[in-house]
């Protein structure tokens, strides 16, 4: 035997490394500790899966990367034209930076969801053939989306400087906000990926939901411009506070409100936990349903 993994101490179950015990478990969660250990042990699979997907999208070539970046930039220009014609912002420069940074961040969430929703269903053959923590499949999608997001942030840097946006210590909030959105995206991707198994047309509805979500998030406008009668929409939006903070930090160079950051983080962590638990409680049924 050349694998070096020793069985961790504790009771034997399906996720222990050497001895496996399979028992009925229609409802409820698998043991979380061993599940997470096994997930971590097989993380390379998620990395490889996402790498393969990126290669299929020609992410590994210069022109492929350019194309992936070109798409959000062009959309940024389209929205800018549209909103600027309708709105005549006094400071078009500032608004362009706001719009572009918001769109780029939103595209991370959108990519993660649109790639992730089908991750379990398209992984069908792998699911029928080997036993592994299924959460690796949506996690790979989040990784793919994140790697596609990184270059767009590099594109934003010159825009930030040219449009004269402040460079302050408040920019330290940027990684925090991104991290919260990673958690939120992971949770939601898990929910959708599991949901797709039960409702195979979920991915057909997703683009409409994402479009509405984009319009109800302060990206094509500033949060402060939202009229009072629509205030509740912004408050109810799980990413509303987060994107408000994003614009505060990047565009205004001011600290986000603590209430905003706390609410945004609560949504992020909350959806992450709920999504993960939901996925784990469902994943053993996937092999039967696919």
């Amino acid at each position: 035997m050349s694998t070096t993994v020793e069985a961790p101490p504790g009771p034997e179950n399906e996720f222990t490394a050497r001895r496996h015990v399979y028992e009925p478990h229609k409802v409820g969660l698998p043991p979380i500790g061993p599940y997470m250990r096994e997930l971590w042990r097989r993380r390379e699979f998620a990395v490889e899966l996402s790498r393969t997907n990126l290669r299929a999208q020609h992410f590994d070539t210069a022109f492929g990367q350019l194309w992936l970046i070109l798409n959000p930039i062009l959309l940024g220009f389209v929205y800018f034209l549209l909103v600027d014609i309708l709105h005549h912002h006094k400071s078009a420069n500032q608004f362009f930076a706001h719009l572009l940074s918001g769109l780029f961040l939103y595209y991370f969430l959108q990519q993660s969801l649109t790639q992730g929703v089908k991750s379990v269903v398209t992984g069908g053959k792998l699911i029928l053939n080997s036993a592994f923590p299924r959460a690796l499949l949506p996690l790979a999608s989040v990784r793919t989306a994140f790697l596609r997001f990184m270059p767009t942030m590099l594109i934003y840097i010159p825009v930030h400087i040219i449009t004269g946006r402040p460079v302050t210590w408040q920019l330290l909030w940027v990684p925090v906000i991104i991290l919260v959105l990673v958690f939120l995206s992971t949770g939601l991707t898990m929910i959708l990926a599991a949901g797709q198994v039960y409702f195979r047309d979920l991915d057909n509805f997703l683009p409409y939901v994402l479009r509405i979500w984009l319009y109800t998030t302060p990206i094509l406008y500033y949060a402060r411009e939202v009229p009072d009668r629509y205030r509740w929409v912004l408050d109810a939006n799980p990413i509303g506070k987060l994107f408000t903070a994003w614009s505060d930090v990047l565009i205004e160079g001011v600290a986000p409100t603590y209430r905003g950051i706390a609410l945004g983080a609560a949504w992020g962590i909350g959806l992450f936990i709920v999504g993960f638990l939901f996925f784990m409680s469902r994943e053993r049924e996937f092999a039967v349903r696919i």
């Binding site: 035997m1 050349s2 694998t3 993994v5 399906e14 490394a17 050497r18 001895r19 496996h20 015990v21 399979y22 028992e23 009925p24 478990h25 229609k26 042990r41 097989r42 390379e44 699979f45 490889e48 899966l49 393969t52 299929a56 053959k125 792998l126 699911i127 029928l128 053939n129 080997s130 036993a131 592994f132 690796l136 039960y198 409702f199 195979r200 047309d201 979920l202 509805f205 053993r284 092999a287 039967v288």
Partner: protein, 263 residues
């Protein structure tokens, strides 16, 4: 056979395992259909008992053959042992790392190259990158696919598909190898080669579970054979005894009824 959990010699212990599926007649469940159906309660769900109270043990270093008609529950049984399908009741203990080669070619994404498939499959099965890299040459060499590894698997013939699948499964140093109807692929020479490889694994105290419709393969390779009939364990014993009984059963069916296709 009584359960000997904890015993050093038992590799796979299946204890009174039943598996029940619930399937609806819809081909693919969709939100649209669910919403359209909301008012009327007409969802037809059928329960299928794929396995009913199956028990047996396999010792380390033994080859277990599983025979039975199409739809008898053989594949379900193998998937349950692999930990892919949870049992509805009963308990399964498996001592060691399992490598699966289930229903010809499954586990591969046809759009990806052979190399990508091998790496993804290996990592999913829990191998480390280093381990996989050290095995990669062996896998390719055994499958005799040196010139094809960077082609998408869409371009593979079914024989090549099966050869790669088998090669991956046997070269992953499994403690337990589950093979479901995979020996029907490949030419006679490759079949011979795979027989030799499986015998080699057995001398290293690895356990093999083999599902096959080829009675000759079962007879040559297996130490112990079970016959699954309509989800139940119909017979367990020496390969030749079980095969004789099974062959007799098939013949009786053939002469008495014209429903040979359905058994």
């Amino acid at each position: 056979m009584s359960s000997l959990s904890g015993s050093e010699r038992i590799s796979i212990s299946v204890q009174d395992v039943s598996v029940t599926y619930r399937t609806s007649f819809e081909k693919k469940p969709t939100l649209r259909e669910t919403v359209k159906r909301l008012g009327r309660r007409e969802k037809i769900v059928r329960e299928i008992e794929a396995l009913k109270g199956v028990s047996f043990d396999v010792e380390h270093g033994k080859v277990l053959g599983i025979v039975g008609a199409n739809g008898a529950g053989k594949s379900t049984l193998v998937r349950t042992i692999a930990g892919i399908l949870p049992p509805t009741s009963g308990r399964i203990e498996v001592d060691g790392r399992v490598s699966t080669l289930l229903a010809l070619g499954v586990g591969f994404n046809r759009k990806l190259s052979g190399r990508e498939n091998v790496v993804l499959g290996g990592l999913a099965a829990g191998l480390t990158r280093d381990h996989l890299a050290s095995k990669y040459e062996d896998i390719v060499e055994f499958a005799e696919l040196e010139d094809f590894m960077d082609m998408p698997m869409e371009a593979y013939s079914s024989g090549m598909y099966g050869r790669l699948g088998f090669s991956v499964a046997v070269n992953m140093d499994p403690d337990i190898l589950l093979i479901d109807e995979a020996l029907s692929v490949g030419d006679a020479r490759f079949k011979r080669k795979s027989f030799e490889k499986m015998k080699e694994l057995c001398t290293e105290d690895r356990t093999i579970v083999l599902v096959s419709h080829s009675m000759a393969s079962i007879e040559e390779l297996c130490d112990q054979t079970i016959w699954i009939h309509k989800g139940e364990l119909r017979m367990e014993g020496e390969p030749d005894e079980v095969i004789d009984a099974y062959a007799e059963f098939l013949d009786v069916k053939k002469t008495s009824a014209s429903t040979m296709e359905d058994v």
